[in-house]
């Protein structure tokens, strides 16, 4: 792969990331189901990861691996967030017998 030029400009990756973020945001704002809202949040995190990688790759020092490390740690944080979020959804479903966000209107367990 050394010496092969990249044909896609940075704006292409940023547009894909922006589209992904908008789809995730729409999923998080539009849907009622808590699991689908979590999936939307995961899409937004994926868009952020793509931005991190693109800016690292097109930045002045791609050999420093900072963007790559940031993206890897962000993936780990996203996995942790998904685990805790889905655990919360299951716990709330056990108490209220629903996963609709409109019906989750009290903090008391």
């Amino acid at each position: 792969m050394t010496g092969v030029t990249m044909t896609t400009p940075l704006a292409g990756y940023l547009l894909v990331a922006a589209l992904l973020f908008a789809i995730g945001l729409a999923g998080a704002l539009v849907r009622r189901n808590a699991i689908l809202v979590l999936i939307g949040i995961e899409l937004m995190l994926n868009a952020a990861n793509l931005n991190l990688i693109a800016f690292w790759r097109y930045g002045p020092h791609p050999e420093a691996l900072t963007g790559m490390m940031f993206a890897i740690f962000s993936i780990a944080v996203a996995a942790a967030e998904a685990a805790v979020g889905l655990g919360l959804v299951i716990a709330i479903h056990r108490h209220t017998d629903t996963t609709e966000l409109d019906k989750m209107n009290r903090m008391k367990g």
Binding site: M1, T2, G3, T5, M6, T8, P9, A11, G12, Y13, L14, L15, V16, A17, A18, L19, F21, A22, L25, A26, A28, L29, V30, R31, R32, N33, I35, I39, E42, L50, I53, A54, R57, G59, P62, L65, M68, M69, A71, I72, F73, I75, A76, A78, A79, A80, A82, A83, V84, L86, G87, L88, V89, I90, A91, H93, R94, D97, T99, E100
Partner: protein, 166 residues
């Protein structure tokens, strides 16, 4: 320097080309199948390690969690008011506005001015491993601790509670 900039007419074709085609992953993929989305962006950006790590994490962990969560909560009643929230139109407008701001406005304008190193970098999994156990070993340990705590916390939160004596 001129070839490093991208004009306004290159934005949408470049994004479409990014979604629909690729370099060597196109050769590995059956020609009539759609490419698996934005994961190929990682391959094109010479971030194969991050791309495959993301595929492993999301297919191996997050997707399984979501499937189990759906299976465990599918006994709930179907929503009478539909699957969309009452303010779905406002949500769509907000999402469209965010995309307009991010994609068409500020981001693309800044990207036009960004100087890009267009040479591909060699595969650097060895360098990534060295960096993870060298310079970034403390963040790696913190993330490992975070993952362990999140896993234990998720199990405790989702664990079946015993009936409290009244």
């Amino acid at each position: 320097m001129k070839e490093r900039t991208c004009g306004p007419h290159l934005r949408w074709p470049a994004a479409l080309r990014l979604c629909c085609s690729s370099t060597w992953c196109t050769a590995l993929w059956p020609p009539r199948w759609p490419l698996p989305g934005w994961r190929c962006c990682f391959l094109q950006l010479d971030a194969q390690f991050a791309g495959f790590a993301q595929i492993l994490v999301y297919i191996g962990a997050v997707a399984i969690l979501i499937v189990f969560a759906i299976l465990l909560t599918r006994g709930s009643d179907l929503p009478k008011d539909g699957v969309f929230s009452r303010t779905w139109f406002v949500g769509l407008v907000i999402a469209a506005g965010v995309f307009a701001v991010l994609g068409v406005g500020r981001v693309a304008k800044r990207a036009r001015c960004a100087a890009a190193d267009r040479r591909s970098l060699p595969s650097r999994v060895h360098d990534i491993g060295n960096a993870l156990v060298g310079r970034y070993v403390l963040p790696l340990e913190i993330v490992a601790l975070l993952l362990t705590a999140a896993t234990i916390g998720a199990v405790i939160v989702a664990m079946h509670e015993k009936e409290r004596p009244r």
